[in-house]
Structure formats: structure tokens, C-alpha cells
């Protein structure tokens, strides 16, 4: 009997084989129980891997993934009057020339967690209040090793409440809180990122009731969280980004 090559044994469980080739391999396996046992195990691996991961096909596709296309930016621009065309084009051009890079999804989760923990606080929502803004910004800048700014969101109806220093997985985190006239709060989470400096596009994540827009700019990750609609949050995120990158 002609020995069967290892590659052909794999073909037997993976794909189309002609009748002749199939019969030849079956004859080989009949007299080589070790190979037969091996192939049985490989076929079982295939079946187990499929039953592990096929359920992903039935999950609803996250909106953020469906939104990845140039048209999406124009749609949001329509919804957000403040989204100037120039910025929109800037983002498109940015997307074309900057290689997409890995953005830690955990950034959005950490920011959402911090938002959920601190924004319901009535008496102690922040460590340093906005009336000491200069001190707050200097203090957090020193701890993060950069020159921070607390974006001015007054024109959008949000005033700075204050901020605090948090401990994140990558070190100190600056956490700014804003509030509108109805008590709706937004938080901006600024965290130093490990590794080489890089830039990413805006990403959106829905963490339970908290919407988060997040991005990396140079050595810092930014995440803006709020329990408001995505379009509204995007307006604010655009303004934050613009102010931090004049």
C-alpha cells in the first residue's frame, strides 16, 4: 500500500476529496488505527471549535462596527450642527493616512465604570471643585506628567463641576466632571497609555446605560462618558477634541 502523506490525511477531514482519493485514504486508515484515531481527534477539534465560535454569528453586530464607513461621519455631521464640515473632512483625511491601531477597549470600560461610580455622588462628586480650577488642572497635570486642560463646554450647556485623581491600570488618571442645568453629568477620563505614541479615530462604546466616545492621542487615552444619546455625546466629544488639539 502506498503511504499517505500527512497533508492528505488533513484533506480527508477538511475538504473536498475525489472519490478515488477518499477510498485510498480510507483503506490506509483501516490498516493504520493510530492515524485513524488521530484524524478522529482532529475532526472532533473542528466540531468543538465550531460549536464554540459559531454562536458569534448570531450576535447582533455592535452599532460601532456598522458605523465604520465614511458615510457615517456625514450622517452624524447632519445630526450635530456643531460638527463643522472642516472637522469632518479632517477626520476623513486622518482616517486615510493614519494606520488604524489597537485601542484598548478597556479604556471605555474603565471610563464608564468611573462615570457610574462618581457621577451619582451628591455631596462629594469631585475632589477639587471648579472654583479651584487652576489648582485642579495644575495638580492633575503634574500627576499625569503633561499639560492638561479642562475643556470649556459652557456653550453646550455643560459647566465644570471639578475633578479628581483616579488610579487606573496604567497609572494615574485625571477625571473631570461636567454638569448641565438639569443635573445631567458627563465625565472626561484622561489616562496615560503604555507603548509608543499613536492616534486613533473616535470610537464609540455602549457600556450598559453609559455612552462612551474614546480615542487615543499621542501618549494619552481620552474617554468621554455620559448617560445621553450617542449623537449628543458626539457633539461634546468633537468640542473636547477640538479644544485639546487647537
Amino acid at each position: 500500500m502506498k503511504p499517505v502523506a500527512e497533508a492528505e490525511l488533513h484533506t480527508y477531514i477538511d475538504g473536498a476529496l475525489s472519490e478515488g482519493a477518499r477510498a485510498e485514504i480510507e483503506a490506509w486508515l483501516a490498516s493504520h488505527p493510530e492515524d485513524a484515531e488521530r484524524l478522529r481527534a482532529y475532526a472532533e477539534q473542528n466540531a468543538l471549535l465550531r460549536s464554540l465560535y459559531n454562536p458569534v454569528l448570531d450576535e447582533p453586530v455592535p452599532a460601532a462596527l456598522l458605523a465604520v464607513r465614511p458615510h457615517a461621519w456625514r450622517r452624524y455631521a447632519g445630526a450635530a450642527a456643531i460638527f463643522a464640515l472642516g472637522i469632518g473632512l479632517g477626520w476623513l483625511v486622518r482616517g486615510m493616512f493614519i494606520t488604524p491601531q489597537m485601542l484598548p477597549a478597556s479604556l471605555a470600560r474603565q471610563a464608564a465604570t468611573a462615570h457610574v461610580v462618581y457621577s451619582p455622588e451628591v455631596r462629594h462628586p469631585v475632589e477639587v471643585r471648579a472654583d479651584e480650577e487652576e489648582h485642579l488642572v495644575n495638580w492633575l497635570s503634574k500627576r499625569l506628567g503633561t499639560t492638561l486642560k479642562a475643556p470649556k463646554l459652557g456653550p453646550l450647556g455643560y459647566e465644570l463641576v471639578g475633578g479628581r485623581l483616579l488610579s487606573g491600570p496604567q497609572g494615574p488618571v485625571a477625571h473631570f466632571m461636567y454638569q448641565d442645568g438639569r443635573g445631567q453629568r458627563l465625565t472626561l477620563y484622561v489616562s496615560k497609555q503604555r507603548g509608543e505614541p499613536r492616534d486613533t479615530a473616535f470610537r464609540f462604546s455602549q457600556e450598559d446605560r453609559v455612552s462612551v466616545f474614546y480615542w487615543v492621542d499621542g501618549n494619552f487615552g481620552y474617554a468621554l462618558s455620559g448617560e445621553i444619546r450617542r449623537e449628543q455625546l458626539l457633539q461634546v466629544a468633537e468640542v473636547v477634541y477640538k479644544q485639546l488639539n487647537p
Partner: protein, 165 residues
């Protein structure tokens, strides 16, 4: 055929990414980066060629670039992987967990090949094209990966595989 067809492939890209990197969020980031690149490089796609295979190629490139950047983290993760056999289990749930753990103990190169063949059911030629490696390399990675998985899952003593030419 236009760019909108990319969207039809998102569920399968998500399945492959999830199997490749494990964590749901990291996997969706990988899909997102792949989609961004696909949109921006769509002019490079040859009409008439297999769009899905092209998307897998892009995902592979994004994954490899990220892996290179994160090599330290990956190496650390690999060190944590048990090199010991997983005991045989009765229940199917445990069996699935075991196969997932063993999958993670493969090198990323082996894992890509196993998943493209077993889960995505690409032909060996398509895998060779998507990963830009010779078909002989596809076969040797597949063969080593499967044997490693079998030994870890079956709890058998590790024996060098007899190569039959």
C-alpha cells in the same frame, strides 16, 4: 458589488477575531480596525476576487502589526499558559472550555491557520493566500497545531509526530 458588501461579512469577521484573540472587546477592536482599513483601501480590492478572503488578509495584517507591537504582552501571556495536559472531562461545557484553553496555548501563527481551516472553512489555498505563506507552511502549521491540541486535550504523552512522505 460595492463597499456595502463589506457589511455582510462583519459577523464572520467577528467570529474569527473572537476566536483569534479571545476577549470580546479586543476582538471587536480588531474588527473595527480591519473595517476601517478595508474602507480606506477598498480601491485595492480586485473586483471578481473573493471579498471575504481579502478581508481576512487585512485582518491578518492588522493582527500581526498589533501583535508585533504587543509582543511583550503576548509573550507574557504565553508564559502563563499551562504546558500541561488538560484532563479528560465528561461534560461538553468543560470540553469546550478545555478546547478554548488549548487553542490559546498555540502560537498566534498556528492559531490563525487552525481557525481559518476549522472554523472559517477556507481551503488550504485560500489560507495560503490570506496569510501570504506557502501552502507547505500552511500544512506544517496545521499539522503541528492539531497534534499539539490533541496531546493537550487527550492528556497523552508527547511523541514526535511520525512524518510520512
Amino acid at each position: 458589488m460595492d463597499r456595502r458588501h463589506i457589511i455582510e461579512h462583519i459577523p464572520r469577521l467577528r467570529r474569527y477575531a473572537r476566536a483569534l484573540v479571545g476577549d470580546r472587546y479586543v476582538a471587536d477592536d480588531l474588527v473595527q480596525d480591519t473595517l476601517e482599513r478595508a474602507w480606506n483601501k477598498f480601491y485595492l480590492w480586485r473586483p471578481g476576487s473573493d471579498l471575504r478572503a481579502w478581508l481576512f488578509t487585512i485582518m491578518h495584517n492588522v493582527f500581526v502589526n498589533q501583535a508585533r507591537r504587543r509582543r511583550y504582552e503576548i509573550e507574557q501571556a504565553m508564559e502563563e499558559m499551562p504546558a500541561v495536559s488538560v484532563r479528560a472531562t465528561q461534560s461538553e461545557q468543560l470540553e469546550l472550555q478545555d478546547v478554548d484553553r488549548v487553542l490559546r496555548s498555540l502560537s498566534p501563527e498556528q492559531r490563525e491557520v487552525v481557525l481559518l481551516v476549522a472554523v472559517e472553512q477556507l481551503t488550504y489555498e485560500e489560507v495560503s493566500g490570506a496569510l501570504d505563506i506557502p501552502i507547505g507552511t500552511v500544512m506544517s502549521r496545521l499539522s503541528r497545531a492539531r497534534e499539539r491540541m490533541r496531546q493537550l486535550l487527550g492528556g497523552q504523552t508527547v511523541m514526535p509526530l511520525k512524518v510520512v512522505k
